[in-house]
């Protein structure tokens, strides 16, 4: 087992542990912080898999933008002080049962039918900004422009949903 495999297993273990902690813990601010740990571990995993631009994007956008937005909203509505309500008694065992079934099915189908391709050798600037840019702005130009419109619409939607109008006298 070489260093890369060991590193990816360790980082994957950190991500899994942080994800389980995020789901289990009752304090929402702690959940958001565990989520940040998951995102950082995923970014390290992207670095191991030779996707440095996407790793930096993950840290900047996901851990640095989206989770900060979550924390703002959690503190804005005072969610860290909210009482924890009890859910229905049959929900938890049913959730674990169904998800366990899903996992077993996935493992079975994957082990029986999945033919994983052998890894090919890639050049050293695979995953660098130049390589991503070449594909992004030539083959995927239309989705790129559409996402810009999507971001504009999302921004407008966020403002429209939360704006408070002054009552004119």
């Amino acid at each position: 087992m070489n260093v890369e495999t060991l590193l990816s297993v360790l980082v994957g273990g950190v991500a899994l542990a942080a994800a389980i902690a995020m789901v289990v813990t009752r304090n929402m601010v702690h959940s958001a912080l565990f989520m940040v740990v998951v995102f950082l571990a995923t970014a390290v995993l992207y670095l191991v898999y030779q996707a440095p631009l996407i790793a930096m994007l993950q840290i900047t956008v996901y851990a640095g933008g989206i989770m900060v937005l979550f924390l703002f909203v959690i503190m804005l509505i005072g969610a860290e002080k909210m009482a924890h309500t009890e859910n229905l008694r049959w929900q938890r065992p049913l959730a674990f049962g169904l998800t366990g079934t899903l996992l077993v099915e996935t493992i079975y189908v994957a082990a029986a039918q999945l033919k994983l391709p052998d890894p090919v050798a890639v050049s050293p600037d695979f995953g660098g900004p130049k390589a991503v840019g070449l594909v992004l702005f030539s083959q995927y130009l239309l989705p790129f422009e559409l996402t810009s419109i999507l971001l504009l619409v999302a921004m407008m939607g966020a403002v429209v949903l939360t704006i408070r109008r002054e009552k004119t006298r």
Binding site: A15, M35, Q58, T85, L116, P119, M155
Partner: protein, 100 residues
């Protein structure tokens, strides 16, 4: 090179944890965070396959998934804030009527 089964297994496990989180947490923000976890799990699978096949398309797709997730979080959180201002609660069990 890392065998491809490891990141695929990690992606499946993270996705499953996200599904369990959506089902057992009754807070709207927590459910939203678990949805983000599921998106992240899919991203890991994309990156692993992109490296394994030597094609950049997987990474460009992750780029778009991250962008769409950012837009979705912006709108979703503003919806949650608006609901909280109207109803005073973000437990999804309390949000079962269309009118107050």
């Amino acid at each position: 090179m890392i065998p491809l089964a490891y990141p695929i297994a990690l992606s499946a496990l993270l996705f499953t944890i996200g599904i369990v989180g959506v089902m057992i947490r009754r807070n709207a923000i927590m459910m939203f965070m678990c949805v983000e976890l599921m998106l992240n799990a899919a991203n890991i699978a994309f990156i692993a396959f992109a490296r394994s096949l030597g094609q950049m398309d997987g990474q460009v797709f992750v780029f778009f998934v991250i962008t769409v997730a950012a837009a979705e979080v912006a709108v979703g959180l503003s919806l949650i804030v608006a609901i909280f201002r109207t109803r005073g609660s973000i437990e999804v069990d309390d949000l079962h009527d269309l009118r107050r």
